[in-house]
């Protein structure tokens, strides 16, 4: 069996017939966090630790809803969030099993404060 989708489904069962029968959703076509962790190892082995780190952050986001991911992106855009907002976002990400993303947000909060990019 090839790597399962985020829904746990074996992608080889995601056939056109299955689609036609109405039994396939985008969740059956979403990458599994374990697969992203594997791709991170591959990137690391091919001399790109930053790409690997990206895939590890992605593995954390893979379990979040689309809306939550979009909201986290929006919160990191300039002048969108107060220090408290970012602190809260970091905490919430950490709580949901996304420590790397939480660390990214926490780091952003420090730099944004220094560079005047927080919401006034």
């Amino acid at each position: 069996m090839s790597s399962p989708a985020a829904s746990g489904r074996d992608p080889s069962t995601v056939t056109v017939d299955a689609v036609r029968a109405g039994g396939v959703t985008m969740d059956d076509l979403r990458i599994h966090p374990d697969t992203l962790a594997h791709q991170a190892d591959v990137a690391e082995a091919h001399a790109n630790p930053q790409l690997a780190e990206n895939f590890r952050r992605a593995a954390e986001l893979a379990t979040l809803d689309d809306a939550d991911v979009l909201a986290a992106y929006e919160a990191l855009r300039p002048h969108r969030s107060s220090a408290a907002d970012l602190e809260q976002l970091a905490a919430s990400l950490a709580e949901r099993g996304a420590p790397r993303c939480a660390a990214l947000v926490a780091e952003a909060a420090l730099v944004y404060a220094r560079r005047g990019l927080l919401r006034p």
């Binding site: 995601v14 036609r20 990458i31 791709q39 790409l51 780190e53 991911v69 986290a72 730099v111």
Partner: protein, 747 residues
Amino acid sequence: MTHTTDTGRYRLMDAQPVNLDGVAVADASVGLVAFDSPDDPEPSLVVGADGSVVEMDSRGCDDFDVVDAFIASHGLDVAVAPRAMATPDVEVATMLVDPAVPRGDVVALVAGMTPAKLARVLGTLTPAELTLAMTKMRARRTPSNQAHVTNRSDDPLLLAADAATAAAFGFREIETTVPVLADAASNAVAVSVGAAVASPGVLVQCSVEEATELEMGMRGLVSYAETVSLYGTEQVFVDGDDTPWSKALLASAYASRGVKMRVTSGGGAEALMGAAEGRSMHYLEARCVSLARAIGAQGVQNGGIDAASVAASVPGGVRMMMAENLMVMARNLESCTGNDALMSESDVRRTSRTLPMLLAGTDFICSGFGSIQRYDNMFGPSNWNAEDLDDFLLMQRDWGVDGGLRTPAPADVRALRRRAVDAVTAVYRHLGLADFSPQWADQAVEAAGSKDVPAADLMVPLTASRVIAETGLTMVDVVAALYETGFDAEAEAMLAMLRARVAGDYLQTSAIFTEDFAVLSAVTDPNDYAGPGTGYRPTPARQAGIDAVRQQRSVADLRASQAARASDAFREVGPAAAGSDPREVVIGVSPATGRQLWVTLSGLPVEAVLDELAAGLEEEGCTARVVRVDHTIDLGLIGLTAARLAGSGIGIGLQAKGTALIHRRDLAPLANLELYSVAPVVDAAHYRLMGVNAGRHAKGATPVPVRNPYTDEAIEARYHTTVVALVAIERACCTPGAVPQELAVTR
């Protein structure tokens, strides 16, 4: 400085297209400088005891702006940095060029270099060195290319037909965008379906605002993203409504849905947006590329891009754009090498700008070859457009290089356009998105551009996109609709593209799909160039595909086209004897005349030429006799042979291709009295005049020579391949030692 326009020479020069281009005096204060601004920092790197960067490129960490801060904390291999920073610029540059130094060694060393250091290194390379370094340093072994597919009306049928066309021409990525933002979802669906009709595995993106683009990726409506812009100064970055941290999260968001993503930057952008901080374009781009690596993007589209003509306006700007691309490769990232926005009105300059990348081969030669007409390109015209597809295909063929394009059969393209239009029509109807009229469909299939589709209704893509948004429609629904409406192969191809997200192999650096959905990437197809005889070479089948352009003609093709106009006007009546009539001029024709060749390069039947020559002689009271000279194909000798048979001592030599001269029996073979050398532009009136002048020579007069017809067109380029074939046919009909034969020519 003022232009001197007082002589005709400058009026001529000023009128050339290149003089529409803006050319700037370098001015570092506003960022109008390619390399080495006085305000570019000295490279430096100080790492504290805890491994954190405390100074980078002459700036202390307390003063880091957002770009510095992100690169310093994520983008540098501090273990290799001391060695990397201490290695002299020229030594690193030599490593980039030297085939004996493995690509991996360079990549490892560069990982420890700050932006200013890498900028210094790449600034030392000459254009030829950049080309060689690119050959070695690009990540993927197999080169490829990306197309723009857009139109002024966001017409879904035309988008589908043009996407199918782009895929048929070999593009492995297609980028669309919208003049009307609300049309985005419809465009993404139409282009994806059209591409799937022509070729499985073509990646599709729709360039719009960042969050919207991500949302489309999540719903499977696009299969990659590229418009994730990075800038080299904090001011411009924030003006672009992002920070390095938001971009890093965005990169992870795409990966979290299994969607390929690359970022966009490009020299000149900061100057264009008025916040270059006095830095050179090259240094600012070095910051962008370092940041791209730091945030974990797998690749970069750069090389001017939207500001290409800003970069091109300053000294060294075009070289700088190429250095930007190499910088990406040296950072071990996918390089989509610009050649995108049109950077000049001059065909010469825009070709000059692209050629080195085509020769070197890159992951994508163009980060947007405008596969549609210039006027339909909603990014603005590209450096290469539908108008230039044949030029690009011939440039590939000329140099024997793979620029990612291939030659489809015109009939296949029509069939693919029809199927793409039918598929989108069926899907839109099935999903309740739109109904298209047969007239609209027919126009889209046949169109060269949106001006040829007056039936297009601008409300259709708007309504379709609104329905897609409101019903939460995903690409899974499109797959089902394709299947329900009988487009099984396209349904399979589009589902395979969605399934590829689950495996994630195409998230790796420089990934594209083959038509069999094999991933070609830095992992599966790493560049292994290590000097002559190594690296990517087209397979024999691919080389044949590069070589077999639709314009090519063989000797057999030419023979057939001549045979189609064969006539029986020429009859041999026996060996030619010398004449004694002082008014007689002999016309000698070449060996293949009337045997295998019947038509001159200007399209006149040879017997019509003979009629004109005879008529001209008659005007002067002379007579014409026609002989075929079989022992030579040399025109001078044919004319001299004719002159020696003529009672007047004057002969006319005529090759079947139409080249003609007047000869006299006492001249050397290669001398002559008058010559028409450019046969394709010689018309009936010219031959009449040659007959008249030959008659005057026969009477001992000295006529005014006929002015040869001249042209400024590339007449040799147009006809020389035909001439080679014609001469080969003449040669095959030539019999050394044969005596001239008198011909009766009937009309």
